[in-house]
Symmetry: C2
Subunit: 169 residues, 2 copies
């Protein structure tokens, strides 16, 4: 499989996960949180699949296509370790969906970041809210109590993405 | 259609075009030329689809994944306007396939570059050789005599890619 093949497969998996996540929260009120804007493609996809929903985006800086930059009042810029706890205080128990696309070249750093962000994710999510994460540190068993692993969309290879639902408190 | 959708569609079209190009030149000897290495994904795909074939890559500089960098003796670094004519002199009438992925943010510049490179492409290609290009300046009618437009692969939207076969001299 060429790198072009595997890149297409990865993007198709991401789309399948975002579509599934949007379907899962269709009847669940509350804002959406996107951890990592990157080029803005997954933000644009969520925005299209969840019209009218407030989507807050956290990132260190903006490197997205101009058409994929959120309104300033929904952009939480800075280090995730600062912005995530701040968001968890401001939106405690309100989030319907969190999508965290944290992959960087540095696996150990991505893993550490995922672990560091778990308390904020738990704080943000409403009961029944959904967490979708690209990081192996979000594998079942490694995740904080309070998040129950749920099935991946058909066709998405295990280990590529991780799906959780916030337990009732 | 979200930017994620359209990005996936663009990559799938590129893969379909590379697969078709590889099939078209399967029985045609001669090196392959990749104009624009970029991240190296299409180079990796061609390398996998055409094992054992010499693939020369032209680009200004290397920004590819380390696994997708060609051997030094098949890397022609510099401005296309210098390296393409030099390659055309060195490999006159030998190339089985040219893949040119020249798209940049600047449409006018990409168009001008495509027009500037046509003489080199004509010089490089052997009779029956294939040119695949992502640029509208390669639209039928705009291309130099000597290159006959051929059909796109099924499912690739017209205008997304352009396919040509070098006429017999």
């Amino acid at each position: 499989m060429s790198r072009l093949d595997s890149f297409i497969r990865r993007l198709e998996a991401q789309r399948a996960c975002l579509d599934r996540a949007a379907a899962l929260v269709a009847g669940l009120p509350g804002p959406v949180f996107e951890f990592g804007l990157g080029n803005g493609r997954s933000y644009d996809h969520l925005r299209e699949r969840l019209p009218g929903r407030d989507i807050y985006v956290l990132d260190r800086h903006i490197a997205a296509h101009p058409a994929c930059i959120p309104p300033a009042d929904r952009l939480l810029l800075g280090d995730f370790r600062d912005t995530a706890p701040a968001a968890a205080r401001r939106f405690a128990g309100q989030a319907a969906l969190i999508h965290a696309d944290l992959g960087s070249g540095d696996e150990a750093a991505s893993r550490a970041l995922t672990v560091a962000l778990q308390p904020a994710w738990l704080g943000l999510l409403r009961d029944g809210g959904i967490l979708v994460c690209d990081q192996p540190a979000a594998a079942p068993g490694l995740m904080a109590p309070g998040l129950a692993a749920i099935e991946l969309p058909t066709g998405v290879a295990p280990g590529r993405y991780f799906f959780f639902r916030r337990d009732r408190r």
